[in-house]
Symmetry: C2
Subunit: 197 residues, 2 copies
């Protein structure tokens, strides 16, 4: 071979990185081949040397979103005592910073609505991500001695995802902040995670 052995692989990763950001900003259907390639410092010509089709590309980009940085926070949870881990995660997930992060951030709220409109491959990536997050949270709830962890985790995840989406849709910053604060405190209250007394 003439180029570096992983030259193409690095380019591919760069393109997928940009795609993941663009999907968060514009949604999976509005990202264009030429746009993403350009953001990655390339022209659109080489696209089909990397991906079979745009559909395939979007599915790969979505899988990529679940591998990247946003999962780091989740992995860190595993090493912490359950109470601390849950408090940390709720505070992170419902933080203004996470709400405003338009290029990283958990894929779940970004993609939920479009998942039924995407390919089977994209759906599978999404489902895996949901299962993973569900399992980690449920494990910590169980470790805390909560008997109905399996029931509770559905409700907790729904509130996390719904709150981030509604906070992003609220243009009034103060109201958006208030929504996050309220959901944070309600979540901790109903999971008996309050730090005081």
């Amino acid at each position: 071979m003439r180029y570096d052995s992983d030259h193409k692989a690095r380019t591919r990763k760069k393109v997928l990185d940009e795609a993941a950001k663009a999907i968060r900003e514009e949604g999976p259907h509005r990202v264009g081949v030429a746009g993403v390639m350009s953001r990655a410092g390339l022209t659109h010509g080489g696209f089909y040397a990397h991906f079979a089709s745009k559909e395939d590309f979007i599915a790969e980009a979505i899988a990529h979103m679940f591998e990247g940085g946003p999962t780091a926070k989740l992995e860190k949870m595993k090493g912490l005592p359950p109470r601390e881990a849950l408090i940390d995660y709720i505070d992170f997930y419902l933080s203004p910073r996470h709400r405003d992060s338009r290029v990283s951030g958990c894929p779940l709220p970004y993609l939920a609505v479009d998942i039924p409109r995407l390919t089977e491959a994209a759906r599978q990536s999404y489902v895996q991500g949901v299962r993973h997050l569900t399992d980690v949270i449920a494990a910590h709830l169980s470790a805390l001695g909560r008997g109905r962890a399996d029931e509770e985790v559905a409700s907790v995840l729904a509130e996390l995802v719904g709150a981030v989406m509604l906070a992003r849709a609220e243009p009034d910053a103060a109201r958006s902040d208030a929504l996050l604060v309220r959901c944070r405190s309600e979540l901790k209250r109903r999971l008996d995670l309050e730090t005081a007394h």
Copy 2:
């Protein structure tokens, strides 16, 4: 005038009805002028006799979504005793029927993700819809004698919206149903709405 005095108004309504359905099915950016006009039994030519631009059209269609049928359920809530109203609404919102309703159904979960990408006019319609639903639920929570209704309503709304979205994203029917059941029962439990004992 030569045509019936409200001929144009009826056509306009028909077009907006179809647009509202199409937005739920495909998202606000993927609905096309020609497609919606065709669904309404017209050709694309007359479009600009009804709307100034596509952006304006989408904003009007979104406003229309909040006026139509899906709000009926909400209005019915107002006439019921608070406990019954809340139980009814939760059971409706988190029903498989509402999850599967791809042409009617509450606009909140359908639009949340796209709202930051739409015009100011569209955002304002959405915000009004959120406020309205928030107020009605909060009023019923207060009527039930719950002191922290303003805090709770944010959490409840987030869970309702998030649960519907996640249920729609879950391709496994049994798992999707289970998610809805769990959120229904968790919501009623934490709001002390359980019917038994």
